[in-house]
Every structure is written in C-alpha cells, then in structure tokens.
Amino acid sequence: MTDERRPETASTEAPTTAELGRRVSAARQATEARGETFYPGPSRIHLAAYPPKERWDDWVELDSKSWPRRVEKRYMLVPTTCFNCESACGLLAYVDRETLQVRKFEGNPEHPGSRGRNCAKGPATLNQVTDPDRILQPLKRAGRRGEGRWQTVSWDEALDDLAARIRAAIVEERPNEVMYHVGRPGEDGFTERVLASWGVDGHNSHTNVCSSGGRTGYHLWTGIDRPSPDHANAKVILLISAHLEAGHYFNPHAQRIVEAKANGAKVIVLDTRLSNTATHADHWLSPWPGSEAAIMLAIANHLIASDRYDRDFVRRWWNWEEYLAAEQPGQPRTFETFEAVLHDLYAGFTFDYAARESGLEASVIAEVAEVVAGAGSRLSTHTWRSAAAGNLGGWQVSRTLFLLNCLLGAVAVPGGTYPNAWNKFVPRPIHVPPHPHTWNELTWPLEYPLALNELSFLLPHLVKEDRGRLDVYFSRVYNPVWTNPDGFSWIEMLTDESRVGMHVALTPTWNETAFFADYILPMGHGSERHDVHSYEQYDGQWIGFRQPVLRAARERLGGEGIDDTRQVNPGEVWEENEFWMELSWRIDRDGALGIRRFYESPARPGERLSVDEYYGYMFDHSVPGLPEAAAKEGLTPLAYMRRYGAFEIRKGVGPVHETPVPADQLVDTAVDDFGRVYTRSQKPDSPNVVPMASPGPDGDGRRPVGVVVDGMVVQGFPTPSGRLEFFSSTLRDWGWPEHAIPGYIRSHVHQDALAEGEMVLISTFRLPTQIHTRSANAKWLDEIGHTNPLWLHPQDGKRLGIGADDLVRVETEIGYFVVKPWLTQSIRPGVVACSHHMGRWKLGDAGQRAAMATVALDHEGDKWAMRRKRGLEPFESSDPDTKRIWWTDVGVHQNLTFPVHPDPISGQHCWHQAVRVRKAEPADRYGDIHVDTARAHEVYARWLALTRPASQVSPDGDRRPYWLMRPLKPAREVYRLPPARPARPKVGVS
C-alpha cells in the first residue's frame, strides 16, 4: 500500500471518489444518449465481444494474413440475416473499406434472436459469395433439357420470355399452369402475394417433406401451426428431435437450452439415434421409430392418473364441454364428468404398454414421466420433422407432445411452450392483393382435405395421371430432384416438355434440379438480397432485415443511391424482390390485368415500386416502436434497419389467449353453447399479419371474436371453439372420427408391419454444419462433412455378416443404394440411419466441383441406374483452396430410392423406410443406385388408397375446412367442391 492511496491522505485537490463516480455517470448518460455503448463487452470472453456499434462505420482490425507484421485493415460492418437455415440469425458483414469486398461474416449482437452468435453455417456465407463455381449470369439451355449445354442470356430476354408466357396463361384462363415451388422461404408471404396479384393459386412449398406432420398436431390444438418453446426459462425441456444441435432453430434455441441447463433444467431427448443433442441430455430415450406418441400418452396417463395435471387450466381452456356433448351425450356436462372420462381415456397407455411399443424399459419411461410431472408449468417441449415427419400418423407425435403442455398448464407461460404466432411479427406490407379465384388441384388434390401444406412431392405422380400440366414451373432455392423422395420420377416429369412447358430455376448455386431447367436465373445469397424475417425463438417479437450488404455499404460510404441490387452484386446476380416486382410489371405493363397497381410507386406514378419504397412503407407504418427508436438516432426507420439489421418489437408477450376482448369489439354479440363469442364489429386492422387459422363465422355472419372463460370474454385461440382443442370436431366431421382426440397411430414401420428380415431406415437427420442442398458451395462446410455412412449397430453387423470395410446394399421398395457402413452403438439394433445431406452429383462439367461427384445416369423405360464416374478431386480455380481438396467422398444420394409415403391426413411424406440391409454384391460399387419408377408409382397409389377424399367426406360441400391455415388462401367461393367428374382410371397396383 502506498501512502498516496490511503483514504485519509488523498490530496485535498483530487476529486473525491463520489465526484469521480458522478463524472462517470455523466459520461455514460451522454454516451448512451447518443445511442452508443459506454461499457463494451468483456473481450476476454470469446463470442461475447463485438465491435461497439458506434464503430461500425470504421472498424480497425489487424490483418491475420499479414502476421507477424501489424497491418491494419479498415472495415465497415453491415448487418444482414443468414439464409442458410430458417433461423434467420443476424450476421455482420465485414466490408473492406478499400476494396468494398466482404472479408468475413460474424454475428450481429443487435439481433434479439441469435444475440450475436452463429453456427458454422453463418460465417460460411463467405464461401458461397466467393464460390468459384457460382452462377453469375442468367443461363438458357442450349440443347435438350437436361443435356447440360447452356448459353448466357440477358435478364431482359429472360424476363420478357417469362412475362409473355405467364401473361398468356392468365389471359387464356390457364392460371393453374403457373407454379412456384419454394425450398428455403424468403420473406413471409412475399411470393404468396405476388402469386395472388397474378390471380394464380400457384404456391407450392417443400413443407410436406419437412414439417407439415409436426405442424398438423400443433394446429389441431391451437389453430397455429408452430410451437414457440421458452427453453431459457424451463425447468424441464422435452425434445422429440435434435434441436439442441441441429434442427430449427438450432442456434437461437441451443443457446437458450444451454442457459436453462446452467440454471438446473433437465433435458429429455427422444431420438433413436444418439444425436449430438442426445449427448447433452439428462435423459436420452432411444425408442423404436414411430412409438413416440405411445410414450407421450403413457406420460400423459401418469399425469392424469396421479392427479398431477393443472385442473384449473384444463377446466378453463380445453374444449371439454364440446367433447362431452359430442362423444358422451348421455353424461352430465360438468368438468367432474370430463375428469372421470379423461382418467379412462388414456388408462390403457401404461408404462408397460409404451415399453412394449418402444422397446424401452418401463421403469425408464416412468422415471421420465416423473421428471415431466415435476416441471409444473415450466415444461418446454418441441418436435419438428423427426418422428412427426418419419411415420404414418406422425402428426400425432406433436399432438400428444403438446398434450403434456396442455395438461400441465405449460402453455404461453414462462418456461412453457407458446403458439408461435404470438412470438412472431410479420409487418403488413404496402399492398395485400385479394385471394385468387382459382384452386390448383396439382397442389391441393381432393384426397387430402386436411393437409396443411401443398402435396408438393406428389407432383410427378399427379402430372403422370394427367391431373394437369405446367406451362411455367419455378423451382426456387429448391432442389426436388435431390431433396424429395423418388427423384427419378421428378426427372421423368421435368424432361417431358409436354408436361412441363418451361422450367425456371431461381437459385444461387448449381443443383440437381437446375440441370433440368430451361432458364437458370441467379439469385443472391444471404448478403445479396432483401427479406424481412421474424421467428419465434423466445417470448418476444422481433424482425430481422436481410439486405445486400454492399448496397448498404456503398450508400453509407458516399450517399450513393442504388436502385437495382444488380449494381452491387457479383456478375449479374439479382435478388428476388426486385425480380418479382419487375416480372410482374412486365406481365401487365399497361395495367389492364389489374396486376400493375400492386407494383406501382406511390411517389412516382407510372414507375415501378422500388425496394426502398417497399420497405420504407413497411418500417414506417407496420412496425410498432421502430419509427420512434429510429428518430432517437436521427434515422429513418429504413436507415435504422439498414444500420442495425434487427429490431425487437416486444418482449414478454405472455398469454395472449387470456387478453380481454375490448368492449368496442363486442357488438350485437352471440355466444354458442360452448362459450364461443361472435360479433358484428369489423375486425380491426393489425400491423402484424402473422399467419394463423381463421375460424368461420356463425350462422348469422358474425365473426368469432373471443371465448367466455369464467364469465370473461377473452381472446382465446384461433380454433373453431376458441379453446385448446383436445377434441377436434374437424377431424370428426371430415371423415376421421377415430382420431378426434390425441392418440397413437401405429407407424408404417411398426415392428408388426415389418416383414421378416426388414429393418427401419431413418433418413431424415441433419448434420449441424450442412445446409440441406446448399452446402455444396461452402468449402468449409464441405471439408467438415462430406460423407453419410449407414449407422449400423454391431449386433446387426454381426448378424448380417457386415464388417467395417464392407460395402452395404440397402434395398427399399423401389430400388437400392450402395453405401459404406458405420458400425456404432449409437443406433438401436434393428434400425439403421443415414443422413440426408450427402450424395451430391452432377452429370458433366457444370456443377459444384467441391462437393459433387460426376455420375453416369442410365435408364431404360422405368428402370434407372446411377453409377459414379469420378469422385472429388482438387482443381484449379480462382480460389486456391480448391487445389487443397483432400477428400474424394461425397456420400450417397439415398433419397432417390425412396417411394412417396403421403400420410392420408396431414399429407406429410413419411420418411422412414422399411429396408433390407445386406452385404453388397461383388459387382456393386460405392454410390450405385437402382430404381424402378413404375414401382414407385404403384407405391404412390397404395398410399393414395388410404385417403378419405373430400368428395366423399366433406360435411359442407367444401374442398377442405376453410378455417385451416393454407399458405396462399384462394377466395372463399372456390372452396366449394367441383361438380362430380367421371372416375379417373385406376392405377395398376401389382
């Protein structure tokens, strides 16, 4: 201790410590008033340190490549939103101020969902931007479709060609011949509105090969098709998926799950594989695939039988009265009656029963049930794809999982699971076109009246049956030939010009579907396009802004106005928003079709709307709080979003269903027998147009406005009853009364359904460093993951005589593929698994050389064969790293060998396959694939026969229940069933 530091000997002239503290406070207030950060984050903690936002215009770092010399690099940091999965995490692009090139991507600390963190896929955006094989100009095929010969064309030529074709389809009343098929969605509702403005019902999504099974279960309960688990505040986290390490929303959820674990939360994971997520679980359950709903019901039965459920929540919010009235009409309509019935309903789902179905120990299920019971209302649950996408009846998995939340009152409370629409904000855009007056039966066939999403993966079969043809088919950031089951049927369709008149691939990168296109139109990556996103990642609402970062950087540097993103993107790469606006403009140049008005600048009549006007309007008018936050910094709302990339609208939304309905909305009300309240008041406009269900009016045309709960009119849920629908009158009325309450449907891969010697193949699991079909242009990700061996338990390996160095032939219903085995105890005996990411291929020179093997494709009639000609090898390019490629393997494209398995209710493709696994034949080679597409069509027909078509079961003459969500909803009148048509010829089933 030195004398001058002692309190009593401090210089009398030196300020006191209190005075110093006041000076610091004053400096902090002044700094923060300018919107700057006073206390920077602790830089010693990795990932918690970010350049302070006030330095984003000119950030200095030492150039790592110049080491050991100290060379300073100056960057402008520009936010955007990652496009490499659905999570929409924030990115910060480091734009070199000298060269105006992006040097790297890191996390955006201003983003409320991802909070500055990213997974491997985010920084790999740089690989995609600098990919030496990327498509930089619009291309038009030069030879036959699929021949692999291309010529460059101008955007003008392509746009005029397309516009003329689409205009002709509209004018000639062939609107259903225009279809847009989307993989990774961009901005919520943007393209749906484009299609609506054209008057076509042409939206087709990938969702039925992805999440529609999971969505169906949630939708039946809440009228909202996604969950929003509040993992961070949970006491118990129950996952039927691999969300902690791989699924949606991997990064935002993983960080919150880890926070919860640090606070003592227990994690339960159901996954037949030992996934990365399962390795972090407190309880890992490896059930027989398809038995998950039985396990959930056994837990539910335990909660009910031991009276551990939240009685008051169940009484207030379940539609138990409707259930009693419909199913127990002789019983008194009291809650006590319902409780007694409830005890009986699930009594058969004992732990022993679940154990028999799942192969787990009954004591293990009982132990987990106790953990769940102890969670109270702090139970966050989640399933997405996984079992819900694998099994016949998989939609009951999410339904029975959410049943646990509904029993415990863990719905829209801290630590529970919210309906996603309450934690999501979709700002109302400048124009909302009317519903189209047409119904497209190629996407919404009558056999699937309850499907929430388009029957996208059946398209080749529906076209094959002459149910329609396509004149213009857009595949957009989607690769159905590779992603969907039965890819050879897709190739057959795409190469038949009588069935598909023109195929336009909107893609930032080469893919197997684009090889069969007429036009390839290059669209920008995550740092080269505009979108607004909002996703449910905690109990709050935020929007994230994806933007072309060089456009924002140039504007910031010199005030240079950019009115077309092609001016800053590489080559002639465009972005979709400007593309769709321009295409729509050209379809209706004179405005006669009524399309142009949706794309006309309000400030410059007669000229096309710009993206700045589009987003300027949105941010000015439809994002509460944003104009005020921007004004504090002297910015326009658009400038604020360009600078920070994200805005949090609300935190702590809470239980919206408990919100009282304002008195001015209760006009000439009517209340039905079960408390549903209807009103004649106009529905107030909301700036948030988040999708959810739209229950219909009462018999007198009043709209549903709320529900009576304990004497109060509260908002409730967007279901017909306004309550949580334990009992679904929709399922009962539309031909499936046996599934009107949450239940268990035995999967198509149930143990009893397998023939002697068959095993189950799990094919859906992701690798956390892969981007579905878009990793091939990301060299870092390719290096990390480039093969997909077959997970095989050593017991099975021994039984089948398969060793680690053997090749394996996996036989499906329609063909086989040859793959390497990985003998591992991380998979349940009797089950094999193979990741879907791998096996990329190209036919010739065009393609992604860093990840695609070159193959020979042969077919004769319905028999198809693929054989690998060359694996991967180093190559010379603009990127010196391509000379350093050290791996040759790219995995095997297994999806080609899968037939379609549409669930008759949800429409979800049921991915799990019953397969035979054996040692490969001597002539087999790694990567060989053989498929019979005639067999594939027979399997399709067999599953189609499971349906109960609307024409047979519709209770009201509609094609489907109007209240159900539908991505692009046609006008009300076209919901009516069409007049009966002559019976379609039967498809032969051998």
């Binding site: 201790m1 503290g21 830089s43």
Partner: protein, 316 residues
C-alpha cells in the same frame, strides 16, 4: 452483454438505481478488460493519466499480475479450483448465474456495483439488511481478502496509467471498508488456506507454495524473477514461474534464497502498512510472509537431497 452491467439488471427489480459509487466501481472494473476504444471515455471521466494502451494492458494483466481471485487465494496460485468455486457459489447464493469467469476482477467489481444499486433500490427494511450483508460479504470475503496487496504489486510493475487506476481502486475499496466494517471472522479463503509445506515436502511442492500468494504471503510475478536473474547474474529460463524459479535454484541456491528472503521482508513491511485498514486480513498476510522469511532462514532448504532437482542443484 457485459459482465460489468449484467448484475445490476438482475438484482434490481424496478430498473437500475443511479449511484455514483456503483458507477465508479463498474468503471474501474471495465478498465481491467482489454482496452477498446470506449475505454478512453471511461478513463477520461476518471481523470486517469494517458490513454489505455493494449500493449501495457497485456503486459500487466496477461503476463504479470492476473486479475483473478483464485490465482491469489488458491493453494496452487493458479486459476480455478476451490477458490473460484467459492466465488461462483457466492453468485449463485445471490440467485445469479455465475459468468464464465466469476472471480475475474471485472466481474467482481461489476457485481459489487450492482449490489450497491440493489441496496439503494430496496424499499423493504428486512431485505435492505440482507442486501447490505451481501455487499459486505463480497467486499470482505472476495475483494479485500486479496485485492489490496495485489494492487500494491501491480502499482510497482505498471506504468502511470495503471498505477493511477490501481490507486483509485484501492482508495475506493478502503472507503468501502471504512463504511462497511468487517465481520468478526477472517475470510473463508484465508482461513482455509494451507501454510507453507513441511520441511520434508518435495521441491516442487515447495516451489509452488512459494509462488502461491496465499501460502507465502508474497506476490511474485514474472518480472520479479527476471529482475532476480539479472541482479544475481543468473540465466533466466523462459517458462512458467515455477520452472524459472527452479532454474534459479539450480544455478545458485544460496543467492536465490537470499533474494527470496529479501522479498519476504519487503512483503512483511507492505502488509504491516495495511493493518490499520484491513485489520486481521493484513495480519494474516503478514504472518504468511513472516513464516516464509523464517523458512528461508532454515538451513534445511540448502541441504542436498536426493530425488529432486532443487536439492542437487543447491548442493552443486
């Protein structure tokens, strides 16, 4: 999120209370971090001379004088261990999630600032007592138990900027010590700290103990070993401190012992000056330094012993 500001959000229910004293501790804590542009504003407000310099920061905090409680209170003189767990337990007892490095000085000062604010914001009399006791516990258990001699050493090796920072922090802490008088019992860290090893301990044990402040009563940094090598005309072997000290012994044990004895005497005097302010804490530190000085006078240390490099070198 900054560790320096997180606790205030976590511990005040109705928004952070404004307290110049809390602000002072938070600001001083922030400056313990690697300098970033924003630090200049903080330093100016505190009237520190010069500007924060990343190179000096690295020299002081990363290579010489590590700002972690566990380094100075743990029996190994290293990061982590029971000392860090004890600090983390304190965070948990407050209902907070311990940060990644709960015993870093920035974290501790940020937490202290938040406890001041929480106390100011508290309206319930009973809870007010609890909050004050929490603040007192943090001050006497986890800060004053090591920070004052730590700052004394830091002031010796640092430039004017960090000297002024250290002086200001010490002054602020001692003002707190005056206001929040000590509990009767010595800090648990100090009560449970083992003394120097027995004379039959191995050379490695002995070297480690010498370099663990809580055992030897001395805060020896790399610079001290370099100075000793230079003053004694010995070669300095680059490596961890124990390795370098062993090398000095192997080259010239008597001179090294004499140098260490001098260090111990210096620390005895230093700790004595703090006794009026720190009471039994300073007494503890002085007693440890005195025990070290006594051990260094014991001829056992110089005797050749088989089985360890130290003894052989001392004999040779």
């Amino acid at each position: 999120m900054s560790v320096a500001t997180a606790p205030s959000e976590a511990t005040t229910g109705s928004g952070p209370a404004v307290s110049p004293r809390a602000e002072l501790f938070r600001a001083l804590g922030a400056l313990c971090e690697t300098p970033v542009p924003g630090h200049e504003r903080i330093a100016q407000a505190l009237g520190l001379p010069g500007r924060p310099d990343p190179a000096e920061h690295a020299a002081v905090f990363l290579f010489q004088s590590y700002p972690y409680a566990s380094v100075h209170l743990g029996p190994q003189g290293m990061l982590g261990g029971e000392a860090r767990d004890r600090v983390a337990g304190f965070w948990r007892a407050l209902g907070l999630v311990p940060p990644a490095e709960p015993d870093h000085l920035t974290a501790l000062l940020g937490l202290y600032a938040s406890l001041i604010e929480a106390e100011l914001a508290e309206r319930d009399a009973a809870r007010l007592v609890l909050r004050r006791e929490a603040r007192r516990a943090l001050l006497w258990e986890h800060l004053l138990s090591w920070v004052v001699p730590y700052l004394a050493k830091l002031g010796e090796i640092a430039g004017p900027y960090h000297q002024a920072w250290a002086g200001l922090l010490e002054r602020a802490l001692l003002e707190e010590a005056t206001e929040l008088t000590s509990a009767d019992r010595l800090s648990l860290h100090l009560r449970t700290a083992p003394p120097l090893p027995q004379t039959d301990a191995s050379a490695d044990e002995w070297l480690v103990a010498m370099l663990a402040p809580v055992r030897s009563g001395m805060f020896l940094v790399r610079g001290d070993l370099a100075s000793a090598a230079s003053d004694l005309g010995l070669a300095l072997r680059m490596g961890e401190r124990a390795y370098a000290l062993r090398a000095l012994f192997q080259q010239d044990a008597p001179s090294t012992i004499a140098w260490l004895s001098g260090e111990a005497e210096t620390w005895i005097a230093r700790h004595r000056t703090a006794e009026p302010f720190l009471g039994q804490i300073a007494l503890f530190w002085r007693s440890r330094a005195e025990a070290t000085a006594a051990a260094l006078r014991d001829p056992w240390l110089s005797r050749p012993r088989s089985g360890d490099g130290l003894g052989r070198a001392a004999g040779g």
